[in-house]
Amino acid sequence: MSKDTKGAVVVEGRDIRRDYHVRGGLFTPARTVHAVKGVSFSVEKGKTLAIVGESGCGKSTLARIITLIDPATAGELFIDGRKIDIAAEPLTPEMRRKVQIVFQNPYGSLNPRQKIGDILCEPLVINTDVKADERRERAMSMLKKVGLGTEHYNRYPHMFSGGQRQRIAIARALMLNPSLLVLDEPVSALDLSVQAQVLNLLADLQDEFGLTYIFISHDLSVVRYIADDVLVMYFGEAVEYGSRDAVFSDPQHSYTKTLFAATPRADVESIRARLTRKNAA
């Protein structure tokens, strides 16, 4: 990682919008759903932007746009300073290599009929012309980097636990050396202790490869731990955007405040306060 790229903006979105057109039926007129209504953000190299919101707020739609899976209806998306519009021109393998995604459900996102080695090599087969023996070598070293072993290369996904599968999904995303990794609720399907291990792994990999993360979550305690900047979405709009400390210490929007108030608190003072209230009642 050369020094001069530090602080460079890896991904920037300007007023990104996405509408879905729902076709009408016999009795229902056609309508347009505004899933994302003009969201702007930018993330510097090596930083983590967390996108927070409840189900249906448009955070996964935004993730699909950033990952270059779906085009935006309007607005501009820049990756590594280059404007990208996949609706106008087809996505090149070079652009595909820059952005990768890890999905929420490690049970659904790995092909049960592929061996781990094939799962890891597939991005290289599709997007590069790396030879087979080098693909194998790279897959082996990536397995070690995410805390698995080379003996796992020939196994199938059903032989792994949820936490291990999420490691495999992360390994697959890193095979192309991306500069930007979109993590769509990567730990919400995992147990607390496994969640801690995967979060540690993500932190280590970020240091090692200088990765930039877009971390989508609804769990504020995880966001507080991992994020540099926080973007709160509500019904497709960015209602709050700022550094983690600013958002957590002084939330401006009423929805952010509701979100904080609703998050269960696990510290001793809160428990004591609750028990006092209960005994008084």
Partner: protein, 281 residues
């Protein structure tokens, strides 16, 4: 006399590689009007022990206990017909996936009235009146109209309210909530937890809260049992559990909370030295 008393409960499943012990010698008791939380990760046997109480385990399961009594009635000696008269009436359960646990073929009104017909023998008019009353109680707007809705027409949070309405329809003495808010957003989770705590206080029900979320424990429980791999690691009142955890496993669980992160790494369970489970050689 405790409402529910279990001594030395063991549940094993017949598998192709020999019996698998899901629960190994759990003792627990719940007093009337008490909130007991059972915490553990997936596979710790927390749901299985409660399904054993309800008699809902599949035929491959073998349930053994020195004593399993509800309200003075020995549950082990009941035949299925006698058990059905208690389950759903005096003990009822709320499951994790609200949409999956309702029958998609019938209106929610039909499903809630079925409970009232079977257990309370109410006539049509009284069933309907009680169903409306219950829907009002759990905070479903426009209850008369909603009785005619099918589960797919309602949101996850609304379906969970329907499940709660069904569970409290016969004024149970004991309510078992198995991960009642895991599938829901934090703001909805807060509403559902507040509702459960309000109903519990008003009706003086015993409540068993099965969860893996330490925040939910902190917000609801009077007493907590921590389970790991089918064994009880610790039992304590909620304040001393958080303030001064006795077992290493509990300490590790609390340390893995992102809220408690010190520096930029989270301690994980494997970092902690592991104590042998009580009773293990």
């Amino acid at each position: 006399m405790p409402l529910l008393e279990i001594r030395n409960l063991t549940v094993s499943f017949e598998t192709s590689t020999g019996p698998f012990m899901a629960v190994q010698g759990i003792d627990l008791s719940v007093e009337p009007g008490e909130v007991l939380a059972i915490v553990g990760e997936s596979g710790s046997g927390k749901s299985v022990s409660m399904l054993a109480v309800m008699g809902l385990l599949p035929k491959t399961a073998t349930v053994r206990a020195d004593r399993m009594a509800f309200d003075g009635i020995d549950l082990l000696s009941l035949d299925p017909a006698q058990r059905r008269r208690i389950v759903g009436k005096d003990i009822s359960m709320i499951f994790q996936e609200p949409i999956a646990s309702l029958n998609p073929c019938f209106t929610v009104g039909f499903q809630i009235e079925e409970v009232l017909r079977f257990h309370m023998g109410m006539d049509r008019a009284r069933r309907r009146a009680r169903a409306i009353e219950l829907f009002t109680l759990v905070g479903i707007p426009e209850p008369e109209q909603r009785l005619g809705s099918y589960p797919h027409q309602m949101s996850g949070g609304q379906c969970q309210r329907v499940m709660i309405a069904m569970a409290i329809a016969c004024n149970p003495k004991l309510l078992i909530a198995d991960e009642p808010t895991t599938a829901l957003d934090v703001t909805i989770q807060k509403q559902i937890l507040d509702l459960l705590m309000k109903l519990q206080a008003e009706h003086g029900m015993g409540l068993i809260m099965i969860t893996h979320n330490m925040g939910v424990v902190a917000e609801t429980a009077d007493r907590v049992i921590v389970q790991y791999r089918g064994r009880k690691m610790e039992e304590a009142d909620v304040l001393s559990l958080f303030e001064n955890p006795k077992s290493n496993y509990t300490r590790a669980l609390l340390a893995a909370l992102p809220d408690n992160a010190v520096g930029d790494r989270l301690p994980t369970i494997s970092d902690m030295m592991f104590e042998p489970a009580p009773g293990a050689a």
